[in-house]
């Protein structure tokens, strides 16, 4: 055992020499302080890394949730855009054609206006089409949306502030048979029906298996509105 002790003592080499007392101010004292500073710095850095990793993990979880939210939001936006008329739509439906009367005695008629298709005729047709369950409507190439107005300027009708000329072609997507049936209902379009019978205004309805309606391309203003 003694031999073993002696051998191990020899093997441990000079590094194991005991710290024989040194005076304060010794260079070794400075290195102790340096080490203490470095160790304190190390502890602070490790704490910061720990904090950052926690923050990042939280952030990533949050971002993942946001990605889910983005996808749902995108779907909501698509639905709202389609509902607002900002998406071109296709489907089966009906085509309603309206044209001024071809009668030759317009100038001698007591009311020349009776021979023309008017803004209110178009509005009445649009209203009845919505009533019949239309899902999307366009007049010529103007999509009918929430702020669409139709008004006469001279002998033409402005729709979405775009000047349209007769014939006015109103296309509606929906169930073709029920759209046609509602248009035939004598309770509706009474004024238009009278003009068709008396003055020869042209009013034709045809089912269409495949319609494509353009998206609304005009502006929307929400300058005065705010949600509650």
């Amino acid at each position: 055992m003694v031999i073993g002790l002696a051998l191990a003592w020899q093997l441990k080499g000079p590094r194991a020499s005991p710290p024989v007392g040194y005076a304060p101010g010794d260079p070794r004292d400075r290195s102790v302080r340096t080490i203490e500073q470095l160790e304190a710095e190390q502890a602070a850095l490790k704490a910061e890394i720990g904090r950052l990793r926690t923050d990042l993990a939280n952030y990533q979880a949050h971002a993942a949730a946001e990605t889910d939210r983005l996808q749902r939001l995108n779907a909501d936006l698509d639905a709202q855009r389609a509902a607002a008329g900002l998406t071109a739509m296709r489907g089966p439906g009906i085509v309603v054609s309206l044209d001024d009367s071809g009668a030759r005695n317009i100038s001698t008629s007591p009311d020349p206006n009776a021979f023309l298709v008017h803004d209110y005729d178009l509005r009445d047709v649009i209203n009845v089409l919505w009533l019949a369950g239309a899902e999307a409507i366009a007049v010529n190439d103007e999509r009918v949306v929430g702020n669409t107005s139709a008004y006469c300027v001279g002998s033409t009708v402005m729709v979405n502030t775009t000047r349209l000329s007769p014939p006015y072609v109103v296309r509606a997507i929906g169930e073709p048979a029920s759209l046609a049936e509602t248009l035939r209902n004598p309770s509706y379009l009474t004024a238009l029906r009278q003009k068709v019978e008396r003055y020869g205004i042209k009013f034709q309805v045809a089912p269409a298996p495949k319609l494509t309606l353009p998206a609304y391309t005009g502006g929307f203003s929400v300058r005065h509105c705010s949600s509650q």
Binding site: L5, T67, N127, G174, V222, S227
Partner: protein, 224 residues
């Protein structure tokens, strides 16, 4: 038992024991010494290790900071906000949410026709109304004003009886001027409809309620 053999065994065990005890002592001592940095060589080594280690830690902090910054400025956040704003705008436009703002409020007290009410809504839309309500019901793109079998008028299926009260959000002066202009809608109404009293006033605050959700599309699909 062979006495010589057992003596050799004991000697070996003792030798090993001694070696291990000393090795342990040495290690313990070295660690204490390292902590105290009593020796130049050890101290220098320790300092250089710490400096090197701390540099790596700082690089890691910088890396994590950069990741954090990229997450913070991530387009997700900006896109999300833009999309939320757009969704809100669309919902205000198509009547999915109640809206408030300046505008006009008016009354048609007396008998009116379906076409009169169509004219009124059309006039308000044309004058830039951003939201319209008639008799407390929000008017949207697909709103229907239609005659009922008994001759009364229905707005989106609900009976609308006079006085018909309409509100519109938008620029109050523009909306009022459009309705009151000479030869305009209200002038026509008050001159040509027997017993119909019309009025319109500007308002600082008009509330237009939300429209009931419009059903899903059954026949129309996006044409993309």
């Amino acid at each position: 038992m062979n006495t010589r053999a057992s003596l050799i065994s004991i000697t070996l065990v003792a030798f090993l024991l001694g070696f291990l005890v000393m090795a342990q002592l040495t290690t313990q001592q070295r660690m204490d010494l390292k902590r105290a940095a009593a020796f130049g060589a050890d101290g220098a080594l320790l300092i250089s290790d710490l400096v090197e280690g701390n540099t790596r830690l700082r690089q890691e902090v910088a890396e994590l900071d950069a990741q954090m910054a990229s997450y913070r400025s991530a387009t997700n956040q900006a896109r999300l906000q833009t999309m939320l704003d757009e969704l809100e705008r669309l919902k205000m436009l198509d009547g999915a949410v109640a809206v408030v703002g300046p505008g006009v409020q008016g009354t048609l007290d007396g008998p009116v026709t379906v076409l009169d009410l169509h004219d009124l809504i059309n006039e308000l839309r044309n004058a830039g109304a951003e939201a319209i309500a008639l008799n407390g019901r929000r008017i949207v793109a697909s709103s229907v004003i239609a005659p009922m079998a008994d001759g009364s008028i229905a707005v989106d299926g609900a009976v609308a009886r006079p006085p018909h009260i309409f509100v519109a959000i938008g620029d109050p002066a523009t909306l009022e001027a459009a309705l009151l202009r000479p030869g305009g809608l209200l002038a026509v109404f008050s001159n040509s409809r027997e017993g119909l009293r019309v009025s319109v006033q500007r308002r600082d605050r008009i509330v237009a309620p939300a429209h009931a959700p419009v059903g899903e599309f059954q026949y129309a699909v996006p044409a993309k």
